[in-house]
């Protein structure tokens, strides 16, 4: 498989088009802010943005005017407060309306799964006796063919583009994730085009040394972007912590349209790349986010080449 390694600028220019349905997933963990910023920088328009939890990154994108619509299940700045750019557009159509298509968390998860599995619908036990099916007519009841029971179903979600951040990937796009998995895998398999953004580019040998860790095969990946700290202010397990200070500050910034404008100017439009964004943040701040060391153990896969029998693994969990 040919290498797919490219820059974020190239990847977004080639694979994200005006009017696309775009999913930048990651549940708290592995949210590709670098991709969101590049989409803002390239001034994409009329995007339908999908995420379980439209986070600060979507507040930034909505504030920057790239989005026409949100598909989501929880709208907020987790642990902090509101997404004010989103709220202005929803509550006051300021500066323009924003369309909403709303589910519950499990509903969104099931939509991605149905998209990944090419199923026309997916059943779940939710929505009973609530106003959600009225608010979103795509949430429909379905009677079980095995008795009286009725469940609700949601339709598949098939983004034009999924942008998933991962800890490491090969140039072919074989990607491995640990820590919170969110819906990265389901979103990638559901999408027509896939951009993998990784903290590290590793050799095939690294991935092949632990195939059970592989979440996304290069087979479905169109571009691989190497973007260290590419999730800041979100985090990458084992690489850096969430920069909570930023989330707290965002509450203030997004309350004020001018402050938001200034922020976009200073941190996105005024910069040419995520590299410059990191330089502006400063090595000191980045260093402060790095966790202390804590490695997993190893497991024994065994060499079944018919070579002479080796030692029996004494402690499967031993480092």
């Amino acid at each position: 498989m040919p290498g797919k390694l490219t820059t974020m600028r190239e990847a977004v220019a080639e694979l994200v088009r005006d009017g696309d349905t775009v999913a930048i997933e990651g549940f708290t963990h592995l949210i590709s802010f670098a991709a969101g910023h590049e989409i803002i920088r390239q001034r994409r328009r009329d995007l339908t943005l999908c995420r379980m939890t439209p986070d600060v990154i979507y507040d930034q994108m909505v504030g920057a005017g790239v989005a026409r619509k949100l598909v989501f299940s929880w709208l907020g700045n987790p642990g902090v407060g509101s997404l004010h750019a989103v709220r202005r557009r929803v509550e006051r159509a300021d500066p323009e309306p924003l369309e909403l298509e709303e589910y519950s968390h499990f509903g969104m998860v099931c939509r991605y799964l149905a998209g990944a599995a090419n199923l026309p619908f997916f059943p779940l036990r939710s929505y009973y006796e609530t106003d959600l099916p009225r608010a979103n007519p795509l949430i429909r009841p379905l009677r079980s063919p095995y008795g009286e029971e009725t469940v609700y179903v949601v339709p598949p979600l098939r983004p034009d583009v999924a942008i998933v951040a991962v800890q490491r990937a090969t140039e072919a796009g074989d990607a491995q994730i640990w820590g919170l998995l969110g819906c990265q895998r389901e979103a990638a398999f559901a999408a027509r085009r896939v951009i993998v953004v990784c903290e590290e580019v590793v050799g095939e040998d690294v991935v092949r040394s632990d195939p059970n860790r592989t979440a996304i095969p290069g087979l479905i990946v169109d571009a691989v972007v190497h973007e260290p700290f590419g999730c800041h202010p979100s985090y990458a397990q084992g690489y850096y912590d969430r920069d909570n200070r930023f989330y707290l500050e965002w509450e203030r910034v997004s309350r004020d349209p001018e402050a938001l404008e200034r922020w976009l100017e200073g941190w996105v439009h005024g910069l040419s790349s995520h590299r410059e964004y990191l330089e502006k943040l400063g090595e000191e701040r980045l260093r402060s986010l790095r966790p202390a060391e804590r490695w997993s153990g190893r497991v024994h896969y065994g060499d079944y080449g018919g070579a002479a029998a080796g030692a029996f693994p004494a402690e499967g969990g031993g480092g």
């Binding site: 549940f27 907020g76 642990g79 779940l124 009973y128 609530t130 106003d131 966790p291």
Partner: protein, 263 residues
């Protein structure tokens, strides 16, 4: 410990005590996180915490800043995809207690976390369901923790995000869900249960210093009260120590500093 006890601290402690004897608790964002961790250190040491984000058996080395905090992952028993979490744990009935917050709650424990005003043109757009709707339906018991005020304890919800009781207990049993609506509501004024006959919210116990008048003033309907009415025992020094020194030294959740307690 000279610092006065805040109403939020009483609310957290009262809620934590209710977890005595429970086994598996589904933890959402905000206050429930603190409540569950306090319970684990006091009345429910054997409590297993399932985090919405996909973590089971977390061993946090610091107060998690969110339910997706990396400190919940490192050293935990299991990390799973969100489909497995919602399907195999919650929907399959493994969760004994789920916590919900509320922007609005009615007398039957129906909850709104979606909008204030009209859905199509809301005056306030709230976060929405998140996992709340499926927690309300699939957890075996649902505890609600919410600050009490006339604008949150309402006669009519603007939007029903999470189902409570219908007012007809017979219907509620027939629904065939694992639970049948919230069984407990804890606020900064008191502790509430639900009348088995009418399914209506009923004040069971007043927090220290709170009065029936405070409750009535902060409720949008005629709140029923049990007789005799209990009084919530004040937080013990030990409960306060754990809460203030171990769980929330910065007072983010306990109300000693501005913070967010929404779902």
């Amino acid at each position: 410990m000279s610092e006065p006890v805040t109403p939020t601290e009483v609310m957290i402690v009262a809620a934590a005590r209710q977890l005595a004897g429970e086994r598996v608790c589904f933890v959402g964002v905000g206050l429930p996180n603190v409540v569950c961790n306090l319970a684990k250190r006091t009345v429910a040491p054997g409590l297993d915490l399932v985090y919405e984000s996909g973590v089971f058996g977390a061993a946090p080395a610091r107060l998690p800043l969110s339910i997706g905090d990396p400190t919940l992952v490192t050293g935990s028993t299991a990390v799973t995809g969100m489909f497995e979490l919602f399907a195999y744990y919650l929907q399959a009935g493994l969760v004994d207690v789920g916590f919900l917050g509320a922007a609005q709650i009615d007398r039957y424990g129906n909850i709104n976390t979606t909008v204030i005003g009209d859905y199509a043109k809301p005056t306030v757009r709230l976060p929405g369901s998140g996992g709340a709707c499926e927690i309300a339906i699939n957890a075996r018991k649902v505890f609600v923790i919410v600050r009490q005020a006339r604008r949150s304890f309402v006669e009519r919800l603007d939007f029903r995000t999470s189902p409570g009781r219908s007012g007809d207990p017979e219907h509620d049993r027939r629904r065939g869900w694992f639970g049948n609506g919230p069984s407990l509501v804890v606020t900064d004024l008191g502790i509430y249960g639900f009348d088995e006959a009418t399914g209506e919210m009923t004040l069971r116990s007043l927090h220290p210093g709170a009065t029936l008048e405070d409750v009535r003033a902060a409720t949008g309907w005629e709140m029923r009260a049990a007789e005799p009415l209990g009084e919530t025992p004040a937080p013990t020094p030990e409960e306060l120590r754990i809460l203030r020194e171990e769980l929330d030294p910065e007072g983010v959740y306990t109300g000693r500093r501005e913070g967010d307690a929404r779902r």
